[in-house]
């Protein structure tokens, strides 16, 4: 058995409890041997999606139960759907919390504390409302930027001359592809924005090679996010990955457009 205890410090004597998503550490304990590992909680600063990150962390550690002070219903739902029990209301040291938990599961046949047992994923009214709320929130978070882009594209159509576009995108497949990859690598954001810009570039006469490279590079290469990727995954990884995906955006563009033209010719 493996338990994850949210704690203020990195050892068994640290205070357990607090909020599951924002506690400073997770102590992963084997209750049989009391061997433990302290993991700093990436969401301790309380940024967005801290609870989900904590859920992901607990699942990736393959723990059987989470012992914490408070756990949001959403996080508890995700955990229980993945077979992880959730025991809340913990207010003791990590060591004592683990001991109390073991005592209770040994003496009770029912779920310990206010634990939520693992249950099967089933669609009910609650999960429908939950999915509807999350989708509405996701779409609402997209809209401000999307509206900004739509208005900007309008300005672009009214103000940017065909001559300037012809200067950037010559119509030469290789040059256009390179220009598209560079432009896509420099820009970032939701892919839907790249579709809108790419679609408008296409109607403005930019070649499909350039637009395709732009679409692929937009999501897979991130010069703006590079410092964040270096910090998270290391310089070598981030530089090699972005470099290779830049080349890939060119290859995908050439392959997709060439095959697309052949297919369209065959079936037209």
């Amino acid at each position: 058995m493996k338990l994850a205890v949210s704690a203020e410090g990195p050892d068994l004597n640290a205070r357990a409890g607090g909020r599951f998503g924002t506690s400073a550490y997770f102590i992963i304990v084997d209750p049989q041997t009391m061997a433990f590992e302290a993991i700093r909680n990436p969401g301790a600063a309380g940024q967005r999606a801290a609870g989900i990150q904590a859920v992901i962390l607990a699942i990736s550690q393959k723990v059987d139960a989470v012992l914490t002070g408070f756990c949001s219903p959403t996080a508890a739902k995700y955990l229980s759907e993945n077979g992880v029990r959730v025991a809340t209301g913990i207010d003791a040291t990590v060591q004592d919390a683990v001991r109390q938990y073991l005592e209770q599961i040994q003496t009770q046949s029912q779920t310990p504390l206010d634990a939520t047992g693992a249950r099967k994923n089933k669609i009910n009214r609650e999960s429908l409302t939950h999915a509807l709320k999350i989708s509405a929130r996701q779409l609402a978070s997209l809209l401000p930027v999307l509206i900004g882009v739509i208005l900007l594209v309008g300005l672009f159509n009214a103000l940017i001359s065909k001559e300037l576009l012809s200067f950037l995108f010559s119509g030469n497949a290789l040059r256009d592809t390179l220009a598209g990859s560079f432009l896509g690598s420099l820009m970032a954001g939701n892919p839907i924005t790249s579709y809108v810009i790419g679609g408008e570039l296409l109607t403005s006469g930019v070649s499909l090679f350039g637009v395709t490279a732009f679409l692929v590079a937009w999501v897979s290469v991130g010069l703006i996010q590079l410092p964040a990727e270096i910090a998270a995954l290391g310089r070598n990884f981030a530089v090699v990955r972005n470099g290779l995906f830049f080349i890939l955006s060119i290859i995908i563009s050439i392959l997709t457009v060439t095959v697309y033209r052949v297919v369209m010719e065959l079936f037209s």
Partner: protein, 167 residues
């Protein structure tokens, strides 16, 4: 000074509206033409966006971040790469939210290839396909999706070969 995230989302559209205000003042005709163009674009996006919402709803109903982790946490090898590609395709939200998890997975022994495959396959967004199809047609989108998935898996594998795992 820390700007609230909700407010920060409106800085960009607010700035564009400001440009429109200035343009209306100096060149009414151009501003009106720009607004007409934007209205046409908004109307064109209404139907695809409704489909996007429907797909988002079903993905949120049946998939959770826990599923993504389940796929990404698997061992390496061909199966691991395919599952990582699947995790990238179904993952949602900004890339920044995923960096701490990827860092943690790497610290816990995840190899470089599955992480690179995951990041590459974030380019494929099933719930946004209606918008993409409305612009480029389904034949093009199908080919692009196919090449993106295959290319990302191959490139992710090469990243793993070129970059030594730190563990």
């Amino acid at each position: 000074m820390k700007i609230h995230t909700g407010l920060r989302n409106f800085i960009f559209p607010g700035s564009v509206i400001l440009i429109y205000g200035i343009l209306f003042f100096f060149n009414f005709d151009k501003a009106f033409h720009a607004l007409l163009s934007s209205t046409r674009l908004s109307l064109m996006l209404l139907l695809p966006l409704s489909l996007v919402f429907t797909l988002m709803f079903f993905m949120n109903l049946f998939l959770s971040p826990a599923h993504v982790t389940g796929f990404l946490g698997k061992k390496s090898g061909a199966r691991g790469l395919i599952l990582s590609a699947l995790a990238g395709i179904i993952s949602a939200g900004p890339i920044y939210a995923w960096y701490p998890l990827l860092k943690d997975l790497k610290k816990n022994g995840a190899a470089n290839s599955p992480i690179a495959v995951f990041l590459g396959n974030r380019a494929v967004k099933p719930f946004l396909l209606p918008v993409m199809i409305s612009y480029f047609g389904w034949e093009y989108v199908a080919l692009l999706t196919l090449f993106t998935i295959a290319g990302s898996v191959a490139t992710g594998y090469i990243v793993g070969v070129l970059v030594q795992d730190s563990t």
